[in-house]
């Protein structure tokens, strides 16, 4: 690897102060540090050794934990497509390849658009490029329906990076989860492309025209909201995830593999994950007691494996920047996300998936929760003095 390092060292003076390309230093720095962990050492006074972990490692581990969801999502896109067209002889490979062709452009557009904005901001604001988008760029396509137009992905990603993150000062400063900001933007700006019965399954053929008109591609939650109890897949089917929905969210198994990676490595917060599930479970029990409509009758466990609940609990609610920061606060924050997600699901007929709004709402509330947790600590200290 010495030759690469030599080339970089040779190019470096151009980007440093006084160099021709000084303005582009953040871009060069991002590229250089991507290839090489810098040989920078600790200060002469202070902790002399450091843990090997850095933000790049943290983020790449989250991306790795998303891979099961991505792979399953690709297969499921193909599977749902062939199922809708009645091509039951499609093999695993067929499904996967078809899905990959549909999904990869979304991933590429999301990364492309997001990173471009990040680079531009880094150059304007003269700060280094943050790793946060590595994860957001993967999350955004996974929470999109497969048939969403690419330009919309680009627009919503740009919106999320600018309004969701950069205006607050970049990674670490944002209030809302950037990936969900992208989805919420799309949801309110172009509702027809992200809800209803048309977008979840790709039914087009090569000529671009849907050949199976009228095939209902509604998500299970959409069906439930419409009162079609018999169309809801069984607990096991929803757990495995071969059902319509956003690309990455359908399979609870894939989400749980991701959760296992996050928890074992110590990257994800078990406090948040656990309390989201408990909150959702309890809320579903409460609704079961009333059982007034189809959504209220779904059993608690079933609620947790339908829609984006598991995906949101594991990958979205745990975003450390937008979540509550205190350990006590995390329990409260997660619990309320779980409760609100089921509440929104049941009481919002226009949009049966409540997870996104529940998390965004609690993102806004998280600083308030932390405020009271910290205030309690302050009071303890004051009481001790007396």
């Amino acid at each position: 690897m010495k030759p690469i390092k030599k080339i970089l060292d040779k190019l470096k003076p151009n980007f440093e102060k006084g160099g021709k390309l000084e303005k582009f230093y953040p871009a060069f720095n991002a590229f250089e540090t991507f290839l090489f962990v810098p040989g920078e050492t600790t200060s002469p006074k202070g902790t002399h050794i450091r843990d090997a972990i850095d933000l790049k490692r943290t983020m790449i581990l989250v991306v790795i934990s998303l891979i099961p969801c991505l792979l399953f999502g690709m297969w499921n896109v193909g599977y749902q497509h062939h199922l809708a067209l009645g091509l039951s002889e499609a093999t695993l490979i067929d499904n996967f390849v078809y899905g990959a062709i549909k999904v990869m452009p979304l991933v590429i557009v999301s990364y492309g658009a997001g990173l471009t904005v990040e680079f531009i901001f880094a150059i304007i604001k003269k700060h280094t490029i943050n790793e946060g988008f590595l994860v957001s760029g993967m999350l955004i396509p996974l929470v999109m329906p497969v048939d969403v137009p690419l330009w919309m992905v680009a627009v919503s990603t740009i919106f999320a990076v600018i309004i969701g993150k950069e205006v607050f000062g970049g990674t670490g400063m944002n209030i809302l989860n950037p990936a969900l900001t992208a989805r919420a933007f799309l949801f309110f700006a172009y509702p027809t492309k992200i809800s209803g019965n048309e977008v979840w399954i790709n039914t087009s053929t090569e000529k671009g025209q849907a050949i199976v008109d009228g095939y209902s591609g509604a998500t299970p939650l959409g069906d439930a909201a419409a009162g079609l109890a018999d169309r809801i897949p069984s607990l096991m089917e929803s757990f495995i995830g071969a059902i319509p929905g956003s690309i990455g969210e359908t399979s609870t198994i894939a989400c749980l593999i991701g959760a296992a990676i996050l928890l074992y490595t110590g990257i994800g917060s078990w406090r948040i994950m656990l309390s989201v599930f408990i909150g959702g479970f309890l809320m579903a029990i409460i609704f079961n007691l009333f059982g007034l409509n189809t959504l209220m009758q779904i059993t608690p466990l079933h609620h947790l494996v339908l829609g984006g609940f598991a995906f949101g609990a594991i990958f979205m609610a745990t975003d450390p920047v937008s979540a509550a920061q205190t350990n006590t606060g995390k329990y409260i924050y997660g619990f309320l996300i779980g409760m609100f997600a089921i509440l929104f699901r049941v009481f919002n007929p226009a949009y049966p998936e409540g997870m996104m709004l529940a998390i965004l709402f609690m993102n806004v509330m998280a600083p308030l929760i932390d405020h009271y947790v910290v205030a309690a600590n302050i009071n303890r200290r004051l009481k001790r003095a007396k």
Binding site: T41, T47, H48
Partner: protein, 451 residues
């Protein structure tokens, strides 16, 4: 009331290069130095100039803001150099030592027969007062104050730390005399905190006139700040004094033998040391001969006076810090690593399991001074809390310092911490934030505000 405290949050890092329990006695080093920079917020005023002859115990300088506090020469000899830095700040006062140390003689006395004022005077005149420090701020204790208690952490839990039971063996009597003297300085208790996991009978368990608390758990269980927090926490306006066990013996010697004998046993440790072992030396000694004897690996090394968490870098011809009884030598980490953040990392140490080194939990690690990443804003949460065993919100406290909100710092508990309490936070930080520097900055802001 003696307490048993179980520390649950913290981290023990298994570093290679632990000192074997053997004490080597070398001829005294040629040059010694006292560094005013070892003392937080001290403005020194010199009493000697280059060329002056001094004895062990002759004052070299005093504290400008508190003239009673004097700092004495550890050996007899000649002042050969006074090193100054920016704005003529005094960095080092170097003394060329005599072959045979001549001690300034003080009157011997029995601390039990003296009252508080007499003890204080003896400690101040004898030059041993600077060994007594205070919380908050981690500065030298102010003789005017009446501390609510005095803390002695009998053990260190930091990586490769010397074992005080081994070091103080045979000094029980002097240790007790030192305790007797300290006892007069407070109306509260002397808390002697021992490691709950070591042998039940040792130098410390027979100490009289103290409250013997037992502490168990990982580092930072041995940090005096953590112990104070759990045993007798500091509220605004309160003061606790603390002192290292080896320095209690030095006080004992002053009373029993009437001399300023600041000899110390230090541990020479770290992965770069060929023969990690203990050395009998004198405070402020040059480390050159010691390192030559212990053997140091070739290459780019970092020599630290103290431990890897709270020590500071010294050059090869540098001197041991005033409060330190350990030298650690680790490799520098100047090498950039290709795709280091993507590599499986079988040999990388991390508290998390983000690298495959979790497969070998018992391995002894050779860690270098590399940052392993770039500085970032706070992103990951809950990380500091895993290694910070106090009922304080570390990140919130750091943020209140960053925005210089004094009221909030007080509310969040800044009086209970000094920088070393945040050393582990700094170690585990994903964002590579320099917590220790921030905490010291916060303490300085408060000291400035309240004079």
């Amino acid at each position: 009331m003696a307490k048993y405290i179980k520390i649950k949050r913290g981290l023990n890092i298994n570093l290679s290069g632990e000192a074997v329990k053997e004490v080597i006695e070398l001829p005294n080093a040629e040059v010694f130095a006292i560094k005013p920079t070892d003392f937080n917020s001290l403005t020194p005023k010199l009493l000697v100039k280059t060329g002056d002859e001094v004895q062990a115990g002759t004052p070299l300088f005093y504290n400008k803001n508190n003239e009673a506090i004097k700092f004495c020469s550890p050996v007899s000899g000649e002042v050969i150099d006074i090193i100054r830095g920016d704005k003529r700040k005094i960095l080092e006062i170097k003394i060329l030592a005599d072959k045979e140390i001549k001690y300034f003689s003080y009157t011997k006395s029995d601390p039990n027969a003296l009252n508080r004022e007499e003890i204080k005077e003896a400690l101040l005149n004898g030059g041993v007062w600077p060994f007594i420090r205070q919380r908050p701020f981690g500065t030298i204790a102010n003789p005017v104050d009446l501390p609510k208690s005095i803390f002695i952490s009998a053990f260190e839990s930091s990586p490769l730390a010397p074992d005080n039971i081994f070091i103080l063996k045979g000094n029980e009597a002097l240790f007790q005399i030192g305790l007797d003297a300290l006892k007069k300085l407070t109306e509260g208790e002397i808390h002697l905190n021992i490691n709950a996991e070591t042998e039940p009978n040792n130098v410390f368990t027979n100490a009289k006139g103290v409250v013997l608390n037992r502490i168990s758990g990982p580092h930072p269980a041995g940090n005096v700040g953590v112990q104070i927090h759990h045993i007798d926490p500091i509220n605004k306006g309160e003061i606790v004094w603390y002192i290292n066990p080896q320095d209690v013996v030095i006080i004992g010697k002053l009373f029993a033998e009437g001399k300023f004998d600041v000899s110390r046993i230090i541990a020479v440790t770290g992965s770069q040391i060929t023969h990690p072992q203990h050395y009998k030396t004198i405070l402020g000694s040059s480390v050159k001969n010691i390192l030559a004897d212990a053997g140091m690996a070739e290459g780019d090394n970092r020599i630290i006076s103290g431990n890897v968490f709270s020590g500071y870098t010294i050059p090869l011809d540098g001197f041991i810090g005033f409060y330190d009884s350990q030298i650690t030598v680790i490799p520098e980490g100047h090498e950039a690593e290709f795709m280091g953040w993507m590599a499986p990392g079988f040999n990388k140490y991390s508290m998390s399991r983000a690298f495959f080194s979790w497969l070998t939990p018992n391995k002894k690690h050779q860690l270098n001074s590399n940052l392993h990443g770039e500085e970032r804003p706070f992103v990951v949460t809950g990380e500091y809390e895993k290694v910070f065993p106090m009922d304080i919100y570390p990140v919130q406290l750091l943020k209140s310092i960053l925005i210089e909100d004094i009221e909030m710092m007080e509310k969040l508990g800044i009086y209970e911490v000094v920088e070393e309490d945040f050393a582990l936070c700094e170690f585990v930080c994903t964002s590579k934030i320099k917590s220790q520097e921030i905490i010291r900055h916060g303490l300085e802001i408060i000291q400035k505000e309240f004079g």
